[in-house]
Amino acid sequence: MAKIVVIGAGISGHTVSSYLQHYLGKKHEIVVVSPNKNFQWVPSNIWVGVGRMKPKDIYFPLAPLYKKWNIDFKRALAKSIHPDGGEGFDKGYITIEYVTDEDKGKVEKVDYDFLVNATGPALRFDKTEGLGPHNGTSVSVCSYDHAAHAWEKLQESMEKMKQGIKQNIVIGIGHPGATCQGAAFEYVLNVYFEIKRKKLLDYADITWITNEYQLGDFAMGGAYIKYGGYITPTKVFTESFLAERGIHWIKQAGVQKIDKKTIYYEKLDGTYHELKYDFSMLIPAFSGPGIKAFGKDGEDITSKLFKPNGFMIVDADYTPKPFEEWKASDWPSKYQHPEYANIFAPGIAFAPPHTISKPHKSPNGTSITPAPPRTGMPSGVTGKIVAQNIRDWIKTGKPVMKHKASMAKMGAACIVSAGYGLTNGIAATMTVYPIVPDWEKYPDYGRSIKYTMGEPGLAGHWLKWFMHYMFLHKAKGYPFWYLLPE
């Protein structure tokens, strides 16, 4: 009997554990370690942030489902990985620290035959002074409780607008190297929609602030799409969306500090600026969760398993090279550690070989470049192939590793909601294929023009709605969930 330990129960971790129990049944032991008691469908946080959904609409408790699936669910933080064993273990183990009231602080060692690190990101509000809902003055939509808090603050701002007090609304990216531009962009469009619906636009000045070199970069180096009879960059598509709504934009901006009234940022040209705000939602930098790694004799081998940003080293080509020499083949396809073959890191947990967007530095030496996105569809797809490869390894006794999903061969759909309602909703449906441009295979545009597209319309909103219910159906393990795509 094999024992598989999955760290994390987000989109990627939950996908791995769901498929593993489906493939392996009760013949093998599956352990999930996560401090979170709920699974949340993160893409719908945006609708919580504008009051269109309640937090309970986008999450469900994991414990009952894992009990039904015979998965051992430990509500704990993973603290360290010991891939060579030691201290009485002749195989790898991890140390965990419980977070539940009854066992809070209790430390346990959990051994494994296969380890899947699917932790997702740590939200690093601390990387930007004054940022975030806990110790700062901006709000966030990165989790359902953050989004609910954002909605409270937005309502306060709208109340002031009703009194005739003009409000500066600033939404975007809160760190020079942060990613998740799509989610922030979606939020600015939804905030606009709600303010317009309440007929308060004359009292709102809305600004989009981003670290992208051009709008529409979306941390993927932008894309070319067929649009209105032209092949046009996503820059035009994105700018059109903002211009149509009268939303200002500031690009090439690295936010460095925020206080109660002002956002301080540096532009790529090296100049420093200040921006007054009344309501601000800024996405923080991400990092790995800071798990340590130790050898058999207790020596620190963290750098062998993780990059300095805390993300796990996998089968990517990490050789430093200039942008012009980046290749699609640099990107991992199995999400397997090169030395410890029984350790995997799908989803956000793996360390990308480099950014997808071209790196830029200001004359002051500040890197203003978005980190590569791995959320949503890539998290699900990479989680699934990791589960398939572990299943094959257990069943054949050999590391066959025939399932692959490189981000340079995988497409993604990003549905940017811009308003809510069966007849009044709108969303921009964007697909890219592949996510990482492959200039050898697609020398003209880096991607397939047939499968890379952007289209605003009501259909996109229906699609996002449909996906909300479909993916929650899948995550809850309802009938035939395994037939639904990631």
Partner: protein, 57 residues
Amino acid sequence: MNLLHKERDLARGYSEFAYAPVPTRMTKIIRKNWIWQAYRFIRLNIKIIRIVAFGHS
């Protein structure tokens, strides 16, 4: 009218957002037309399913 829309008219040709294309009335109607959007909903679903299927082996 939004304040920025007024500013856009004044700044035409000088501020960056004045260069972005904006949709015509007909484009906006098509974006909300049930029949056309129902057709696009089906086409978009097919396209996304294909993308997911191609994405891993």
